[in-house]
Amino acid sequence: MLFNSLQFIIFFPVVVGLYYLIPQKFRTYWLLAASYYFYMCWNAKYVLLLLFSTIVTYVSGLLLERCAQGEKEENKRRRQKKLCVAASFFLNFLILFLFKYLNFGIDSLNQVLGHLHITLSVPAVDLLLPVGISFYTFQALGYTVDVYRGEISAEKNFFRYALFVSFFPQLVAGPIERSKNLLRQLDKPAKPCFDNFRDGFLLMLWGYFLKLVLADRIAVFVDTVYGDFETYTGVYLIVATLLFAVQIYCDFSGYSVIAMGAAKILGIQLMENFDAPYLAASVAQFWRRWHISLSGWFRDYLYIPLGGNRKGKIRKYGNLLITFGVSGLWHGADWSYVIWGLLNGFWQIVGDILSPFKKKMVGLLDIKEGSLSHKCLRVVSTFFLVDLAWVFFRADSAFSALRIIKRMITAKNHWVWFDGSLYNCGLNQKNFTLMIWGILLLFAADLCKYKGIRLREVVAKQDYWAQCLTVTAAALGILVFGMWGAGYDAASFIYFQF
C-alpha cells in the first residue's frame, strides 16, 4: 500500500478513527493489526519474514537481558551476550542476503568465472525483493544492539515490540527509528490532540507536495532523458542529473515527512530524516543531513565499532570507505550502488586530506570564511560532488554512469538552455515552469529550516482561520498540480526498493 494510493487514503482515516475510539489498552493491538495489514497489502506471504525478524530480535533482546542479569562471571556473560547479538545479526542478515543479495552474488560470481574463462554458470534465484526489508531489519537489529549496550531494557510485551518493528508509517521506507525513541512512545498511547492533528496533517501535505507535485513531475523528465541517454547529450543530461538530485530528495524526504505526519496524527513523534541536506557545506555535513536515521545507524553500529576516527587517519579513511561502501550496498544490490557509496566516502577523505590546503588558500586569498559568498561556494561545490555521485545511483549500471558523465562533458549544445528544447523531454513548458517554481519553494522551505525557522510553528501561531486556509489551499494545490489519478501509474517511492 503506497502513501499516494487510494487504499491508503481510505485506510489511514479508518485506522486513526478507530485508534482514538477504542479503549487505550487495545490501541497497541489495533495499530499492530493495521501495520501488518498495511504490509500484507503488498505481499501477504512476505509478512512471515517481518515476523521472523521480529521474533529473532525479540528473543535476542530477552536473552541479552537474561545474560546481563545472570550470576555468571563477567567474561562469560559478555561472551554469551556477544553470541546472542551475533546470532541475531546472522539470522537477520541471512534473510537479507537471501532475498536481496543472493542474485547479486550469483551474478558477480558468474562474471568473475566468465573473466577466468570458466564455463560454469550458477543460475539466478527467482525471488521477489520484500519491500522495506532493509529498513525493518536494520531497525530491529538496532534494538538488539541497544539492549546489548544496556541503553534500553528488553521489551517484554511481544505485541508492543512487534509494533515497534512494523509500525506502518515508517515500516517500508523509514525513518529507521531507534528503540529508545519509538518503543517508549508506543508504551503510552497518546490522546487525540488538535495540535498533533494539525501538525501531522501539515506534514503529510508537505510530504505529498514533495512526492506528487515535485518528485513525480521531475521523474518524467529524468526518466525520459536517462531512459534514452544514448540519444540525449550535454545539457539534457546535465539538467536531468541536476533534477535527479532534487527528485530523489523530494521522493525520499516526501515519504519520510508523510510518515512523520501520519505518526504525529497517531500521537507519535518520529525522528527527522532530512535536514536541508543540499545546503550542506561539505560532503560529511551532507551525510549528517541526508537520511539521518540511516547515517546515524551506520555511525553508531558500524563506523564507531570499527574504530571510527579514534585509530589514526589511515584507519579512519578505511572505516569511512567501509561504512559508505556498505551503505551503498544497503541501497541496492548492484556495483553501481557500491561505487556511489564509495564515491561519497572518497569525497570525504579527499576533503579531509585537502583541508589544510584549503585553509591555507583561504588565508592566502583573503577569503572571509563566514561570508555568504564563501558559504554559497561551499554549498554549490558540495552539491556538485554529491550530484556527480548520484549519476551512479540513477544509471542502470556503473558502465552507463560513466557513459553518461562522458556524454555530459563532451557534447556542446548550450543553446538547449534557451531554445525551448528542454520542454520536449516529457514536460511541456507549463509543467516545466511549475516544476521550477516548486523547486524554488522547496529551496525557500529548506533555507527557513536551515535558519531555524519552523514553518509549521509559523502556521500554528496564526489564527485558526489562517491555519485552515493554509491547509485548504495546500490540499487543493496538491490535488490540482499533483501527478496522480487516471492515466498515472502510482509510482513507487524510490527508496521502497531498498
Binding site: 487510494l6 488538535f194 511541456n428 507549463k430 509543467n431 511549475l434 485558526y464 482561520w465 491555519q467 485552515c468 486556509l469 491547509v471 485548504t472 490540499a475 487543493l476 490535488l479 490540482v480 498540480f481 499533483g482 501527478m483 496522480w484 489519478g485 487516471a486 492515466g487
Partner: protein, 477 residues
Amino acid sequence: MKRSKAGLWVIVMTVIAIALFWNVAYYLENKGAYKMKCDFSEVAEECDVLFLGTSHMLTEVYPLELWHDYGITSYNMAGYAQTMPVTYWTFLYALEHANPKVVVVDCYMIESDEVAIEDGFMHLTMDSIPFSKTKVQAVCDLYDDLDSRIEYLWDFSLYHDRWDELTWKDFATGNENARGALFQIGVSDPDPFVWKEMEAEPIDSVGVDYLRKIMEECRKRDIKVILTYLPFPANESKQKAAAYAAQFAGEYGVDYINFLQMDLVDYRIDCLDADSHLNAAGGHKVTSYIGQYLSENCGLADRRQDGLQNWDQDYEDYQRYKIERLRGQESLQNYLVMMADKSFSLCLFVDGESKIWEYEKYADQVKNLAPEYSFSALDRAVQQGEDYLLLLDHKNGVFVDFCGDEGGEAKTSFGKVVYTQTDTGEKALYLGESDENLLRDRDEEGRKLTVQTVVIDHENGEIVDMQRFRESLLTNK
C-alpha cells in the same frame, strides 16, 4: 472553548474547501461532453422523442431541425462509440428526467460483445451524466476494476491535470444547445457499398442482451420504440447485423427503418469518412426523413403552438451556431456541405474559366444543395465551361440557375434578386434594393476569383455569409 473554536473553524473551512474544490473541479473538467448534453435536464420533460445510439445517431439526427420543421420535441442522447450497454444506461438516466412517447434506437453495434470502447469516447458519454444512483449502477455494471470506477464516478481524478490546457472557453458559460446532436463536416470517398438482401442469422451478443433490456423498459413504460440502422457504407458483417435487427424488431413487433436499403443519401458526397459516418449534408437528409416518419407514424402532436419558447430561442441559437461553423470553413468542399441545409437560402456563382468541374464531386455537391430540382443550366455550364449562377430560396421554393450569358431576376423571400451583366461585360448580382454588385472578378490582391457564394437567412432576409474562393485555393481558402 479554544478547542470548540478550532473545531468550528475546521468545519467552516471544510465547507469552503469543498465549495472551492467544486468550482476548481468544474473549470478543470473537459467540457466537450458536458456542453453537448448539459441542457438535457432542463428540456427533458418536454421531449416526446429520445434518440439513442452511437455516433451515427449523434451526428445524423438534429432535434432542433425536427422542432423547426415538424414541431417535434426531441433530444439526441447518442454518443461516440456507445455500445448497447452504455446506450441502455444512458437511456435509464434519461428516463429519470424525461417521459418520452417514442424512443428511436439505432442498432449499429448490436452484434458487439464489447461493453465499453476506448476511454476517451466513454468519458464523452459518462461525463455528461451527473452523479446519481443510476450513474453509480452504470459504472459498476460497465467496469469491474476499482480504478476505472473511480475514474468515471469522480472524473476530477482524470481532469485535475488539465490545468495546463485551460483556455478561456473553459471559463465561458455558453453551451452548444443542439439538443445533444453534433455536426460533422468533411467529404470522403466511401468504401464500395452495395446492399445485399440476405436472410437474418441469429446473433447472441451483449449488444442484443442490452437492447432487450431497453425494449423491456419501454414496454414497461408504454413507450413506442423505433429501431433504425442509419446509413453508412456498411460492409457485409454490418449488413448482416442490419438484417438481424429487422428480425429483432419483428420479434417485438416494433417499427424498423433500415436506411442501408434506401437511396436516401449519396455516399459519394454525403460521407464524412470512408466506412462509418455521414457529414452534415447527409445528416440533414436523415433528419428530414425521420421527422417525416415520426410525424406520420407516431401520432406526435405538432408542438410549435404550445408556447415552448425556449425551443424557439434554442433554435435561433442553433442557427447562429451553424452560421459560425459555416463562416469557419476553409474549403469549398466543406462549405458546400454546410450549405446543403434547407434553413439557408443562397446564391452561388462559378466563373466559366474555373476548372472545378473537372472534379465531378463539386457538381454533385452543388446538386446536393437542392436534390429535388433539376440542374439543367449546371449541366450545360459544366459541359461548355460557361459561367454559372444558382439562386435557391428554400422558404418560397424558388430555384433558378443560369448558364453563360443568361441573366434575369427572381422574387424571393429575401427580396428581388437580379443577375445580369455590367457594361464592361462582368457578371453582377444584386439583392433587394441594393445597387451593390455582390460579385467580384478579382480579390484585393488582384487574384482571379472563381467561386463566390452568398448565404442568406431567409427568416429575416439577412446575408449571413459571403465567401469568395480563388481557383488555386478551392480547398484552402
